[in-house]
């Protein structure tokens, strides 16, 4: 007997990498952004057919940038499950780290050296 197969919900590109960066830069601690809705691991694969190639490539950049921002301690990354293969991928803004700083002059001196 054939079991019914759940149809994957349609995916679409919600925002671009530059939008994500702009939001992270302006967000207050605790602000939340859904940067993707769908099944990210599937949607970024070349074999996935849910997104046009250009959107898929942009989604790869968005996902990498979100991961980078989490490594930089700018956001927390969490996901919320809505149903089978349907997740909201959320970025939650953290307080901006203030301890790292450098003056442009130091870079210029390195350049001269």
């Amino acid at each position: 007997m054939t079991r019914s197969i759940t149809k994957l919900p349609a995916a679409r590109l919600r925002l671009k990498e530059i939008d994500l960066c702009g939001w992270i830069g302006q967000a207050m601690p605790g602000d939340m952004l859904e940067y993707h809705r769908g099944f990210l691991a599937l949607d970024v694969t070349e074999q996935g057919t849910r997104l046009a190639e250009r959107d898929r490539a942009e989604l790869v950049r968005v996902a990498r940038r979100a991961w980078w921002a989490a490594e930089q301690r700018l956001v927390h990354l969490v996901q919320r499950r809505h149903g089978p293969d349907d997740y909201s991928y959320l970025a939650i803004a953290r307080p901006k780290p203030r301890r790292v700083s450098a003056s442009f002059a130091s870079f210029l001196l390195q350049e001269v050296a």
Partner: protein
């Protein structure tokens, strides 16, 4: 021998210059604050041309009238050119604002509403300090290689760096885009 001018001659020149300046201000609908400047411009030009006055060819009044009219025409043409370039309504910082106790436009215009703000220059000292802190924080997050690229781009171009063998043009632009996005994520906007 140069003509000697009596105090009454000089009085005549002042009166003629004043009358011509008022006529010009009225004709061009200039603010009252412009009157003194125009009168001075006319007088300076007239005084510079006085050595050319020949009493045998006509009266001092006629000479002054001719010189002042010519210079007034040049001033009017200059003002019209400026209006065509910058707009039909002339605005002067020295213009007194009605009902503001003699305050001029320059004195009453806040820095945030001024030309420098309109041209994108920072006018908020606190915002400027915050921006500098943001820049230093953003720069602190760049790795040594990207920091060096920023320093190099402060005085040269991507094309020059590529020509010096510091990477391919497309590679340098890719790094630059990545730096921009990283700085944006840290709250820095492009200047």
């Amino acid at each position: 021998m140069p003509h000697q001018f009596s105090p009454s001659d000089l009085q005549l020149l002042l009166l003629e210059a004043d009358a011509e300046a008022r006529r010009l201000v009225r004709r061009l609908r200039l603010p009252r604050a412009e009157l003194d400047d125009i009168r001075q411009d006319l007088l300076v030009d007239l005084i510079a041309r006085l050595p050319a006055f020949d009493p045998e060819r006509g009266s001092l009044g006629a000479f002054a009238g001719l010189v002042l009219r010519n210079h007034a025409t040049r001033i009017a043409a200059k003002i019209k050119r400026a209006r065509e370039a910058f707009g039909a309504v002339p605005v002067s910082l020295d213009e007194e604002q009605p009902g503001r106790d003699g305050g001029t436009r320059g004195e009453l215009t806040a820095e945030e509403d001024g030309l420098s703000a309109w041209l994108g220059q920072p006018v908020d000292a606190f915002a400027e300090v915050e921006r500098r802190l943001d820049v230093e924080r953003g720069l602190g997050l760049l790795d040594r290689r990207n920091g060096a690229l920023c320093a190099a781009l402060a005085h040269t171009t991507v094309e020059s760096l590529a020509a010096q063998g510091r990477g391919s043009r497309s590679g340098l632009y890719r790094r630059l885009k990545d730096i921009r996005l990283a700085l944006m994520a840290h709250g820095l906007k492009a200047a």
